[in-house]
Amino acid sequence: MRPFFLILLLLAVPPAFAQDSKKEIERYQRMIADSSPAELYELAGEAAWKKPQGPNKVSLERCDLGLGAGVVKGAYAQLPRYFKDADRVMDLETRLLHCMLTLQGRSREEATKRVYGNEDVASEMENLAAYIVGESRGAPMAAGDTHPKEKAAYALGKKLFFYRAGPWDFSCASCHGEKDKRIRMQDLPVLSSAAAGPSVATWPAYRVSSSQMKTMQWRLNDCYRQMRMPEPDFASDATIALALYLTVNGKGEPYRGPGTKR
């Protein structure tokens, strides 16, 4: 990586072709967002939220997502955050899992058997996430960044973001660390900066290429797959720290998911 000042002096301006194709791709993104089936997952998620399950035959309607038991409106925009009852920083999917275990009495093994769905049947977690995030539309994102454990998670997330590892020596920053970079035609936001805002504001998202609603845990999971790394544990501290790091970087961005992406 060339030293910092050389990049500044080069002030490379992207060639004209890439410039207007960027505009065209943004138009495509607006068009698919207009006519997206994402709404179907929000509806299915609302049904799952209210469905009694587990040995206790209880729904998730008493689950506290941070704003009080059962409060869904605006809850996602304040995640990830520290939860006193679990003495742990949690993102949405980790918190949902917590409620499945504590309220519904389900086993961790059963509740995490199928956290990623496929194009025929979405997973319970994907439907729930679509519903809950939809209830934060318009709220400025404000993940927790004051509690000591939140600060520690942010610091860990940042180190994980820049740590190069694996057979291809990649870190997240290899692709998301420098402005105006693309993989093929895919623009790569600098997630270590405020430019993370528009990304964290539109995940979870319906992916047209796979006809599936995908969550943030999946997003991190699939990045590590393409970094040629082993698989991250679902709802592990490492994934939560990364999610918190990205979301705090994008603090203030109005949430507008679930998104619709290529």
Binding site: L8, K159, A165, W168, S171, K181, R228, P230, S236
Partner: protein, 204 residues
């Protein structure tokens, strides 16, 4: 003129107070590595052995991809020494090279033993003009062979760069495709042909 001075001012400012590095010392690196070993698990071909880090990764992590000069030189030389250059022509079949450059498969946990690995070249580089969907993380390689010719030295340079880019620029973002076992000797020769062969669309 005023604007250029202004830019230089920023640059000097940026250099004098070197930004706080991401990792303070080797211990810091070990702590992050421990988290990765705790919170990840093997899947398919992606085993936990991939969590071990070598001297190159430690140097690039510790110094934010800009290690001191003599450390870089030392490690680059070690990486160069480890490259096995086949003898004879290093140019294979550019048609197979194009398929390798287009394919993003290889070394992922969902790549089966029968799946043929690719080089993911188009993810980061422009190569042939006829392929508009190219990345720009790496420099454009359009007309690489037309500009540089096909001398044995150039074949060796191209082969070495693909085999282990860190032998030339220690903290390059380009994967060590040969060193990591992603591409075979023949596949790297085919990529070299795609880059250098006058018939290749890269040079049309």
């Amino acid at each position: 003129m005023k604007r250029v001075l202004f830019i230089i001012a920023i640059v000097l400012g940026a250099c004098s107070s070197t930004p706080q590095r991401h990792f303070t010392d080797e211990n810091d690196l070990r702590e992050v590595q421990a988290v990765l070993k705790r919170d990840f698990h093997a899947r398919g071909s992606a085993t936990m052995a991939r969590m071990e880090s070598d001297a190159v990764q430690r140097a690039c992590n510790l110094y934010d991809n800009a290690p001191p000069e003599e450390l870089s030189k030392k490690l680059e030389a070690e990486q160069m020494a480890a490259i096995k250059f086949p003898d004879g022509s290093l140019m294979g079949d550019w048609k197979r090279g194009e398929t390798i450059a287009q394919s993003g498969r290889g070394m992922q946990w969902n790549d089966g033993p029968k799946d043929v690995a690719g080089g993911s070249c188009y993810n980061c580089h422009q190569l042939a003009l006829k392929e508009p969907s190219y990345g720009n993380i790496g420099p454009s390689l359009l007309g690489f062979g037309k500009l540089r010719g096909t001398s044995p030295e150039m074949q060796k340079y191209a082969y070495g760069r693909v085999y282990n880019s860190k032998a030339y620029s220690l903290c390059s973002q380009m994967p060590r495709l040969g060193h990591s076992g992603t591409l075979s000797e023949q596949q790297i020769k085919d990529v070299v042909a795609y880059l250098l062969d006058p018939q290749s669309p890269v040079n049309q």
